[in-house]
Symmetry: C2
Subunit: 187 residues, 2 copies
DNA sequence: TTAATAGCAAACATTTTGTTCTGTTTTATT
DNA sequence: AATAAAACAGAACAAAATGTTTGCTATTAA
């Protein structure tokens, strides 16, 4: 890919993210985006079919990073802390969020956060499902495993949303403690 | 309010709900709505300021019903089954959903379900918070109560979404069992 | 260096929005 | 039953947004 293409693509992503901080997704027009990114109209449509397409691509990029990083984490530490490792994957994820490399927090706290939350949960769901296969087979026979997987990923994203909307008063470690307090008894 | 007003308002709601089953919220135009509802353009704008306004009003109406019904339920039964009452509020809510009086299930399973899910969670959150005040003060000192409230409402809506997307294979009673299995240990 | 590619700007047809107008139908009241 | 008030329909409208096309320039990779 051309250097310019990457640069333009990045410029559009950045402009789009900034706009999401001030307006809802629905109120952002393509004109807003190309003005903010300072690219031509033709260029925008050369990169993305529609505004929705741009949204999808942005999500792919952002959550792709954070989840694959968490994947690596589970390979070395396991899904949960095992006594040796000090923190769970969830703490890792929260810390990653707090660092906010790519303004994920901005997207999750904007007016249209729902959209991103779904993408986030989908990614997370896959992470948890793959890590769960073959684990804890005997535990919690009252609840099917596929229910549990959704419960965990669902609770997590809802917690993150709650955290952000509340102004991020808790540290990732604190949140991790809470989360494990409500999840581990079930496992 | 005029008889006609109610009728027209209902017609618009119905048309809007039907449209949501086939198109995403973003792709539905006001023209679509007034065609489907068979009302004039002027009439639509006399009832609702914008399409977003229509959405808000619809949510208010739908979730208002289901939550106030649940409120009554908690007055007689308590938030959870207490041994005498056979089912929790959550089961009551699920049964209410399954009956699907006002096509809430349709809205929660449509392409734009996120929007409705947020409204649903907000309503639910209030229900749980009001019922929680002064209860279980000694329980779970590891986790603040305001965290718990969000955890419960969040888990619930995520479960409902999972239930619907999976084709509603479980009965409300079954789901209620699962849900209590993952929530009650924490209380 | 040069051919290919990426970009810009302007113009465009089309769609959607929200408003305004005129005239008709329905409702509530007497 | 007559009447005034309201709610409605339909059409026409300006303004805004979308997505495409055209002609031209700048950059890159070879």
């Amino acid at each position: 890919m051309d250097r310019r293409q990457k640069k333009t693509r990045a410029a559009i992503f950045t402009a789009f993210s900034s706009l999401l901080a001030e307006k809802s997704y629905g109120r952002i027009t393509v004109q807003d985006i190309i003005d903010a990114a300072d690219v031509g109209r033709t260029t925008f449509y050369a990169h993305f079919e529609t505004k929705d397409d741009l949204l999808r691509e942005l999500c792919k990029e952002l959550f792709g990073h954070i989840i694959s990083s968490a994947m690596d984490c589970t390979h070395t530490h396991g899904l949960y802390s095992d006594g040796r490792a000090p923190e769970s994957v969830f703490c890792h994820l929260l810390q990653h969020l707090e660092e906010n490399d790519n303004n994920i927090l901005g997207l999750l706290s904007c007016e249209s956060s729902d959209i991103f939350l779904r993408y986030f949960k989908d990614s997370l769901n896959e992470l948890i499902r793959t890590q769960f296969v073959g684990r804890d087979k005997s535990a919690s026979p009252a609840v099917p495993q596929y229910f549990l997987v959704n419960h965990i990923s669902g609770s997590f994203v809802e917690m993150v949303l709650w955290w952000i909307k509340g102004g991020r008063k808790q540290t990732p470690q604190e949140l991790d403690r809470y989360f494990r307090a409500v999840i581990e008894p079930v496992l």
